[in-house]
Structure formats: structure tokens, C-alpha cells
Symmetry: C2
Amino acid sequence: MLGVVKAMANSKLYKGSLNTIILKLLDEEGKMYGYEITQKVKKLTKGELNITEGALYPALHKLEAEGLLDVEVAKVDNRLRKYYKLTEQGVREKTNRLAELEEFVRNMQQLVNPKWSIE
Amino acid sequence: MLGVVKAMANSKLYKGSLNTIILKLLDEEGKMYGYEITQKVKKLTKGELNITEGALYPALHKLEAEGLLDVEVAKVDNRLRKYYKLTEQGVREKTNRLAELEEFVRNMQQLVNPKWSIE
DNA sequence: CAAATATACATAATTTTCTTATGCATAAGG
DNA sequence: CCTTATGCATAAGAAAATTATGTATATTTG
């Protein structure tokens, strides 16, 4: 019995962007737990981007191990939640990642030309 | 003796975008050879994106194997060049990839918010 | 003119990042 | 009661890149 779990994305372009997404959402929301992140992303992209658990949880663990996230365990309705939030280093890294993302978009615009513009 | 070869890019965001870049450049230029692509990309991004040979050549071979590219060997100044151009299927696929790229940017904009806008 | 750099291809080993497939457990809805 | 939703986790494998080589000719530079 498989629950037809849609992949993270149709295209391969999202590779490498998961960490940036996580850092930015945590910066906005203050703290979030894993499942909440997947739902938030799904909603914001109108179902077009589904983060898989196999990608998300290892990513969260890695960011935590790198000192970019702090974790806090909570029990809600007898179910476990692990709330993540940015550390100070995480806030700095988030800023860097967003700058890289803007640069990426700027460069892709030059290469692949342009229906979109910056600013 | 190592020639300090810079990586394809500082950030990981470019992962997955190489094929799209290749298809679009070939569409614009008509035909190009591998080394020419690396130089063109370097120039267009003002040196910020350096495609490595280890990424480029396997990608070209794969695109050719998939029927998206045709190759034509030439000898210039006693040196080998392999000119690639889009097949009909390659043209169609280029269109798809560009649409995916736009969708990717649109989704990232929703997620990570917004200094850039589409259109 | 010798040495270094640029041009031009290629591939193998490894790493990173993701998909796919599981696994466990509780809550809610039909 | 059975399915779906919530919530975590990890392992096996694939895909795409990095890093490190290797070969060869042409050009520039000290």
C-alpha cells in the first residue's frame, strides 16, 4: 500500500535549494517542526513543490550538526514534534544563502535570458 | 602542477541547471563546442559561473545519447572540436526546460520571498 | 627557446543531494 | 475498523556535480 508520495519536484532545478528554503522559512516563522515545513512549502507553491521526508529530515539533522539550527522537542496531543529555530550562526548563514540565491537568479537571467527581472 | 581550476559555482544552487543552460545556449548560438560553452558562460556571468569539464562533457554526451543534440567533429588549427547543435527534439525539450526554470523561479519567489519579480 | 598558459577533448573516483522505499507510532474521520 | 493525516526516522540507490587525472596541440611570455 503506497500513498502515492509525490516527489520533491518535477524538475531537477530544486537540487541544492532545500537548505536555503529551510533557513528562510525558519527565519520568517521563528520556529517550525519538520512536518510543518513540508505543509508550508506545499501551500506556498500551491502543491507544486513537495518536500519528501527522505530529503527534509536528513537536511535538518545536518543543519543542526553544523550549528545553524537549535532543536527543541515538544509533545502535542501525545505526538512528538521537533521544533527547529535558527542559531545566531544560522541567521548569518541564511543571509548568505539568500544573497547566493539572488546571484544565482541574476546569473541565470544572463544565461537563459529573461522574462524575469531583479528588484 | 595544478591550474587552480575554480569550481562550477560557489553555491549549490546551480546543481541541476546545467542541461538547461546548455540547451538554451545552443538554441541561441546554433552550434557550439564544449570549450566554447565554458567560455561563453564565464563571460556572461562575469566569471562567477565556471562550468567544469567533469560536469560539461558527460552532460553533452548524455544529451546526445538522449537524442537532444547532434554532434559534428571539426579540425581547426590541428585541434579537435566537437560542435553540438539541437535536434528537433532538443528544441522542444529546451522549451520545456525553460518553462520549468520559470516555474522554479516563481516558486522560489513565493518561498523565499521577493526581491525579484516575474515578467 | 623553454616554460607556462590556453585550447580541446575525455574519464574515473568520490561526494552531495535527492528519490524511493521502508519502518514505527498516535490521532482523526468515514 | 480501516484509511488518512500527523510526526518522526533511516537505508538503498540514482543523479549530478566536484576533484583529480590524462592526453595533445597552440600560443604567449620571460
